[in-house]
C-alpha cells in the first residue's frame, strides 16, 4: 500500500467514515456538472423531495451538446434543446452556480474549472465525466463518476469509494523540439497499455513534469483515464500557485497565502512509498499518432504500423479489429496517410497554449484542398483570449473554421460529426469506433501542432519538418 503520497494525504483528509461494506465515505470538495449526465440524477432527487446538500460546492456548465456554429436558442436539434432546458430547470432555485453562455464563462467543464480557479490543489473533485482526471494537474483527487453517483453527491456531498493503489509515473529530461505534453501522455499510454491503470491512481512526477506548464499538465492528467487510471495527478508547486493567483474563484490576499500553505502540505513527501514506479526518458519520445481504435495503439510519427503477428496474444485480436476498422495496412508508414478532417479542440487540447501552437504551424500556409479543418476553443474565455491575440485571423486566413466553445467533434453530440469513413486528425482523447459521430468514422489522435501540420499537407506529417 502507498503511504505519504498526495493521494494518501487527500484521501485521509476527506474521509468521513468507514462504511459497513468496508468502503470509505469520502467528502467531495468540488462537484462539476454538465447537461448530459445529470438529468436522471436531478429527477431522482425531485421524486423523493430531496434538496441539494451543498449547492455552493457544485458548479454547472453546458458543453457536450452545445452547437459551435450558432448558439442561438432554441437549438436546431430538439433533443439538444431539451437537454439544455432540463439543465436550466433542474438548476433553478438550487443555488448552484451556472456558467451558461450568457455568463461569458461557459466552456468545456474541464477547461473552465481550472481557468476560473474553481479547481484547486488538495480537493476531491467529482464530475459525471471520465476526463475529470484533468483537474488532477493541480494536485487534487479528481475522478469521473456515473449519474447515480452524481445524485449521491448532490444529496450528501459524499461518495462510497474504494481506495486505489498509487503508481508513480516518472518522466525525466527535456522534451525534444516538436514534442508536446500530448505526445508524452500518448507515449505513456502506449508504453504501459490501456489496461495498466486499472485499480491505480497515477502520480506524474519527474523533471519533465516539473518544467511543464499547467496547461501541459492538464493535457497529461486528462488522458490518465485512457491508460485505465481513474485518477492522475501532479504534485502542486510554484507553477500551480502562480497559475491560480488572481483567478476569479481563487483565494485572495492573506487567504491565498494560507491556501498555499495548505496546498504545500498535501503534496507527496520525499519518503512517500508507492505501489509501483515506472520510468520513461523524455528524450525517447517523438511526436505520436494513434492508428487504431484505442489510445494505446499509437506510433511515433517516423515509425511504421506494427505487425499483429509480432504482438503478444493479448494484443493481437484488438490489433486485428483495429486494422479491419481503420482500413490500414500493417507495416505501412503513418506519415503520408491522407486525412479528410482536422479537429483542434476538446478538453485535452483546446486551451490557449494549444491554439497558439496550432496557429504557429497554420500561419505557414493554407489548409490543403479537400480538407475540412475546425478549431473549437475550450471556453468562451479561451475564445476571447485567442481573438485578442489574433489567432482567429490566422486560423481563418489559413482556411480553417473558427467556432464557439464546446466539446464539438470530440464526441459529436452536436452537429459536428464525421461522415462515412472519413479520417480525422484530432487533438481529442478517444479514437474509439464511431466516437466522432459516424459509425465508420476514423480518428487519429495527435497534438495540436501535429494536427495543424496534417491540415496543411492533407496527410499525416512530421511537424518537425515545419518548425
Amino acid at each position: 500500500m502507498s503511504s505519504n503520497t498526495l493521494y494518501d494525504h487527500v484521501w485521509d483528509l476527506h474521509k468521513v467514515a468507514t462504511l459497513p461494506t468496508g468502503q470509505d465515505q469520502i467528502f467531495i470538495g468540488l462537484h462539476l456538472i454538465h447537461e448530459v449526465t445529470t438529468p436522471q440524477a436531478f429527477a431522482s432527487l425531485k421524486e423523493r423531495g430531496v434538496h441539494v446538500a451543498f449547492p455552493h460546492r457544485t458548479f454547472a456548465t453546458l458543453d457536450h451538446i452545445i452547437p459551435t456554429l450558432s448558439q442561438q436558442r432554441p437549438y436546431l436539434d430538439a433533443q439538444a434543446e431539451a437537454m439544455a432546458v432540463a439543465l436550466e430547470s433542474n438548476l433553478a432555485n438550487t443555488g448552484i452556480q451556472f456558467f451558461d453562455p450568457a455568463s461569458g464563462r461557459q466552456g468545456i467543464v474541464h477547461v473552465i474549472g481550472p481557468e476560473l480557479g474553481v479547481t484547486q490543489p488538495g480537493m476531491t473533485i467529482a464530475c459525471g465525466d471520465s476526463h475529470t482526471s484533468t483537474h488532477g494537474a493541480f494536485g487534487s483527487l479528481a475522478f469521473g463518476i456515473g449519474t447515480t453517483e452524481v445524485g449521491l453527491v448532490l444529496e450528501t456531498q459524499t461518495l462510497a469509494l474504494n481506495r486505489l493503489k498509487v503508481r508513480r509515473v516518472q518522466v525525466d529530461g527535456l522534451l525534444n523540439p516538436g514534442v508536446t505534453p500530448k505526445d508524452v501522455v500518448l507515449a505513456i499510454i502506449h508504453h504501459l497499455g490501456v489496461k495498466a491503470g486499472l485499480g491505480y491512481a497515477y502520480e506524474f512526477a519527474g523533471t519533465t513534469f516539473d518544467t511543464m506548464s499547467m496547461e501541459g499538465r492538464m493535457t497529461v492528467c486528462n488522458m490518465s483515464i485512457e491508460g485505465g487510471a481513474r485518477i492522475g495527478y501532479v504534485n502542486p508547486d510554484q507553477v500551480t500557485f502562480d497559475y491560480l493567483k488572481g483567478r476569479e474563484y481563487a483565494p485572495k490576499g492573506e487567504a491565498f497565502d494560507r491556501a498555499v500553505a495548505y496546498w504545500k502540505s498535501i503534496a507527496s513527501l520525499p519518503r512517500a512509498t508507492y505501489d509501483d514506479i515506472v520510468r520513461l526518458e523524455a528524450k525517447s519520445i517523438e511526436p505520436m499518432v494513434t492508428w487504431g481504435i484505442n489510445p494505446g495503439q499509437s506510433v511515433g510519427v517516423s515509425q511504421s504500423l506494427p505487425l499483429p503477428e509480432t504482438m503478444p496474444d493479448s494484443d493481437r485480436q484488438t490489433a486485428n479489429d483495429a486494422y479491419a476498422y481503420m482500413k490500414f495496412t500493417p507495416g505501412s508508414k503513418i506519415q503520408g496517410q491522407a486525412i479528410d478532417v482536422v479537429f483542434i479542440g476538446s478538453c485535452t487540447n483546446s486551451r490557449i497554449s494549444d491554439l497558439r501552437e496550432a496557429a504557429r504551424i497554420l500561419q505557414k500556409g493554407k489548409v490543403a484542398a479537400g480538407v475540412q479543418a475546425i478549431v473549437v476553443p475550450g471556453s468562451q474565455a479561451v475564445k476571447r483570449q485567442a481573438e485578442a491575440e489574433g489567432l482567429d485571423e490566422i486560423f481563418k486566413s489559413a482556411g480553417a473554421q473558427w467556432r464557439e466553445a464546446g466539446c464539438s467533434m470530440c464526441l459529436a453530440m452536436n452537429p459536428d460529426k464525421l461522415i462515412g469513413d472519413q479520417i480525422c486528425a484530432s487533438t481529442s482523447n478517444r479514437n474509439f469506433m464511431g466516437r466522432q459521430g459516424s459509425p465508420t468514422g476514423r480518428t487519429l489522435l495527435m497534438s495540436p501542432a501535429m494536427a495543424a501540420a496534417a491540415a496543411l499537407r492533407g496527410e499525416i506529417t512530421d511537424v518537425r519538418e515545419l518548425l
Partner: protein
Amino acid sequence: MRLEDAIITTVSGRAVPILGDDIDTDRIVPARFLKEITFANMGNYLFYDLRFDETETPKAHPLNDPHYLGARIMIVGRNFGCGSSREHAPQAIKRFGIQAVIGESFAEIFAGNCKAIGLPVVSVSDGAHALIIDHITHHSEALLSLNLDTKTLQYGAETCHVELPEARRQAFISGTWESTALLRVNMPAVLEKAKQLPYVQGFAS
C-alpha cells in the same frame, strides 16, 4: 426499494459471449443516444452500431443471435467498459435484461456504475474465461449460476472462482449497493468534515 428486495446473491440463466478486449462505452452505447434525458430506452441501444447497420437492419452479433435470446449473463473480456463515465452503458446492459456481467477485467468507473445500479460484475481468470466461452459457444442453452456468497460460477459440470472487491460483494449480498441510506446516516459527520476542510471555509483562518 426494501433492503430484502435489493439483496443479490445469485444470478442464474443462459449466457451470451461478447468477444474482444477493451470494449469501450462508446461501443456499448453510442453517444448520440445520450441525448435522451431518461434511461428508459437505453436497453434498445445496447451495442447499437454493432447490432444494426445504417438502415437499421440487424447485423451478425451475439445479441441478435436467436441462440442467446433471453440470456441473463454476459461474458466479456479484458478492460470491459473502458472510456467514458456514462452510466447509460450499464443501464443499457441491465435494461436489456442482463443481470450479471462476467469478464477478465473491468474499467474502474464502469464497475462502480454497475455496483451503483445493482448489476454485479465479477472477474474470472484467463483460463476460466476461455473455458466458459468455449462451453457457451457449444451449448448456448447451458444454464450458468453465479453465486456471490461462495464467489463461484457454475457452468456445465464445472465450477470456477470469481473475484470482485469485497466491499462490492458485501454491498450486493447485504442489499446496500444503493448507498444513499448508508451515506445519509453520516450527515452530521459530513457537516463536521466540511467545517474542518480549509478550502470549504474559504481559507478564512
